[in-house]
């Protein structure tokens, strides 16, 4: 079997398996980020272009907690999403909530502008070259899988983000709270008539979506350079993931996130120059064939 793969593709099978696994790890980041975007779009109808900046804020808050407060990675995993989520709540209350009755374009422009401003403030304060953040001692080291050397931390990222994705899906699809949320997006006035405080629910949903981005940022801090631009490259890919999966589809964004991570990983072996383009080629094909996305409802 291994010989067959090697002969077919012209690369050693261990390298291929290694790249599949790496693709899965990158897919975990795509899934977590697109999950937050999908939740926000599904329930608020806002295309949240601040998401990349909020991912970056998560990583920076983790750094600040360590450098200024002496609180390590595990605390950051808990506290950073809460802090960044709280800033999201403020942004939603002060600004985004005024745009719900307007065209999508207004929300897009507003969140894009806020994202640029947040990045600018961090760049002024911390510079552009980045800050160091270490892998926590409990998760450092690596396993020898035979076909590759697998860092423990990367394994943790995949497992943790799968758990988070699953938990989010359960909350929205299987609980009473999730039922309220879904109902409110269909008909807010009716849900409000039943005594549910819809505006507060929407505010908290935005905060939760932002907290998911920040959580991904904390996960990224030990393995990527913590710098103000770190969300910019990632967010473009993540938007493509959301579009391919179907805007607002939670399960779709998770599956697409992992799937595209793997496809991108394979491209990095066979044709590295095209690895940034392949996702957009897929997006174009999917939009031509199924404009609502793979898992979207037309």
């Amino acid at each position: 079997m291994l010989d067959f793969i090697e002969n077919l593709l012209g690369i050693p099978a261990p390298l291929l398996f290694g790249q599949l696994l790496l693709g899965l790890i990158n897919g975990a980041f795509y899934a977590m980020l697109s999950l937050g975007l999908a939740v926000i779009f599904g329930l608020l109808n806002i295309i949240n272009f601040t998401h990349g900046a909020q991912f970056m804020m998560g990583a920076f808050v983790a750094w600040m907690l360590l450098a200024w407060g002496g609180l390590g990675y595990w605390w950051a995993l808990l506290i950073a999403p809460l802090i960044v989520g709280a800033t999201g709540v403020v942004i939603e209350r002060l600004m985004i909530s005024r745009l719900y009755k307007l065209d999508h374009l207004y929300g897009l422009l507003l969140t894009f502008g806020i994202g640029l401003m947040i990045e600018g403030v961090f760049r002024n304060e911390f510079g552009s070259s980045g800050l160091p953040y270490r892998i926590p001692a409990e998760l450092s080291g690596a396993w020898d899988l035979g076909f590759m050397f697998m860092p423990v931390y990367r394994g943790w990222v995949v497992v943790f983000s799968l758990v988070i994705c699953l938990a989010t899906w359960i909350v929205i699809e299987k609980t009473r709270l999730g039922a309220y949320l879904r109902a409110a997006t269909e008909n807010a006035a009716l849900v409000q008539a039943f005594g549910v405080n819809v505006p507060r629910m929407i505010t908290l949903t935005y905060g939760a979506g932002v907290a998911l981005a920040a959580l991904a940022g904390v996960l990224a801090a030990p393995i990527y350079s913590v710098n103000p631009q770190m969300g910019t490259n990632l967010i473009i890919v993540v938007f493509a993931v959301v579009v391919i999966g179907g805007m607002g589809s939670i399960l779709g964004s998770v599956i697409t996130g992992f799937g595209l991570g793997i496809i991108e990983g394979l491209t990095k072996v066979f044709w590295p120059e095209a690895s940034a383009t392949v996702i957009f080629v897929i997006m174009a094909i999917v939009l031509l064939a199924r404009p609502a996305g793979l898992f979207g409802r037309a």
């Binding site: 390298l15 790496l22 552009s128 070259s129 590295p272 940034a276």
Partner: protein, 406 residues
């Protein structure tokens, strides 16, 4: 177009005051220096506002010698079209010299415009050695470093220690290609071999694990990083995570002080890197650092920023030597005068500018300290080797510059 802050440096007093361009022009005897740099992107900390601070420091040190010096700055956003527009506008508005210009693609655009308008281009930030080779110009001085010198400094040093098989991770644009090309020459000249390369899309790549695993699978002894800034930091982080440091040497071909700062000594210790300036080299560099540190957001100057200081100071000396009116009228003559005069400044010491525009000064191979060796903030390097300027840069005859008479 990026924001541009106009400030007037009033001669000996060195006081910075904001003055409208029109008033300065009315005075007639003002030399205008425009710092065109990356003020908001990945190269900002190694160039950017710090380059302006260092240019102002040169003007302050030069003092009042019959003319005033005005320093303005703008952000080229690493885009050749934006950079070219600002350069044209500046030259038309009476800017005499443009400084810095990191990002080779933008530097090539400004290089052409300075020649066409007969002004002066003092490049510090761009790396491509073609600026003094196939693209050389009588209006341009390439001050601080280039890809050939980096390749010789770090690449050849690592081959000498037994690293004779290489795998490159290369940024897929002009700079990355030039750096890989120049390094490959040294590796092969020393009897080594290049086993493979992965060219990744720039700047759209965040995760480098796929490329470091390919490097690992190639069984090369050296991981050659033909990239810069955040990309280099992310490559090294991934390479250490996947255990490449156990059996491979890392060759970070363009890496500077701010990158080591971003990486942290824990991860960066033992790396070899090549620079022509470090703040803690000698008494003169330390004195310079003390003078500028406050204005530079409490950071010591980085190599490219120090290059802006050296280039600006030498240009001003040439202007004083030939007369302001003649210098303003003919950029080519001003650069010729710069080449005729020996250079000397606190950052690079004594040196000279060659006829192809290449500035010559000593080049240092540094080793990054271990955390236990570092005595304080920004104490990151120890000198591993020093190469004299005449040997550190590409020989005059090999560059293919049309200004060089064979």
């Amino acid at each position: 177009m990026g924001t541009s802050r106009r400030s007037l440096l009033a001669g000996a007093s060195a006081a910075v005051a904001v003055a409208p361009l029109s008033r300065a022009r009315a005075q007639g005897t003002t030399i205008r220096l425009g710092v065109l740099s990356d003020m908001s992107g990945p190269y900002r900390d190694a160039t950017g506002p710090g380059s302006t601070v260092m240019t102002q420091a040169a003007a302050a040190e030069f003092g009042a010698r019959g003319f005033t010096v005005e320093v303005i700055q703008a952000d080229h956003q690493n885009r050749p079209d934006v950079g070219a527009n600002i350069a044209r506008q500046w030259f038309d508005q009476g800017v005499d010299a443009i400084l810095d210009v990191p990002t080779s693609s933008v530097a090539f655009a400004v290089n052409t415009i300075a020649r066409e308008k007969n002004k002066v281009f003092l490049n510090s930030g761009a790396a491509s050695s073609d600026l003094t080779g196939s693209q050389c110009s009588p209006n341009t001085v390439h001050w601080t470093y280039d890809t050939w010198m980096l390749a010789k400094g770090t690449g050849a040093a690592i081959v000498r220690t037994g690293g004779d098989t290489w795998f490159f991770v290369t940024a897929d644009y002009a700079f990355g290609h030039a750096l890989q090309r120049d390094t490959t020459r040294f590796v092969e000249a020393a009897g080594g071999r290049v086993l493979g390369a992965a060219r990744y899309p720039f700047p759209a790549t965040t995760d480098f694990s796929a490329f470091v695993v390919q490097a690992q699978a190639s069984r090369a002894k050296v991981l050659g990083m033909a990239n810069a800034s955040t990309d280099t930091v992310n490559t090294i982080k991934a390479a250490r995570e996947f255990g490449l440091h156990r059996n491979m040497k890392f060759a970070a071909l363009l890496m500077g002080l701010v990158d080591v700062h971003a990486l942290g000594l824990e991860t960066g210790q033992g790396l070899l890197l090549t620079e022509s300036f470090y703040w803690d080299l000698n008494d003169r560099t330390r004195a310079l650092t003390t003078r500028v540190r406050r204005a530079n957001q409490d950071r010591p100057p980085a190599m490219v920023q120090a290059g802006c200081y050296g280039a600006a100071l030498h240009y001003l000396k040439a202007v004083a030597d030939m007369g302001v009116a003649a210098a303003k009228a003919d950029g080519r003559a001003a650069v010729a005068r710069m080449k005729a005069m020996p250079t000397d400044d606190d950052a690079f010491g004594p040196g000279r500018i060659r006829e192809d525009g290449r500035k010559l000064h000593p080049v240092f191979l540094f080793e990054v300290k271990a955390p236990s060796e570092s005595r304080g903030a920004w104490d990151y390097y120890k000198v591993a080797a020093t190469t004299p300027g005449e040997e550190a840069f590409r020989p005059l005859a090999e560059g293919g510059c049309s200004l060089v008479r064979s």
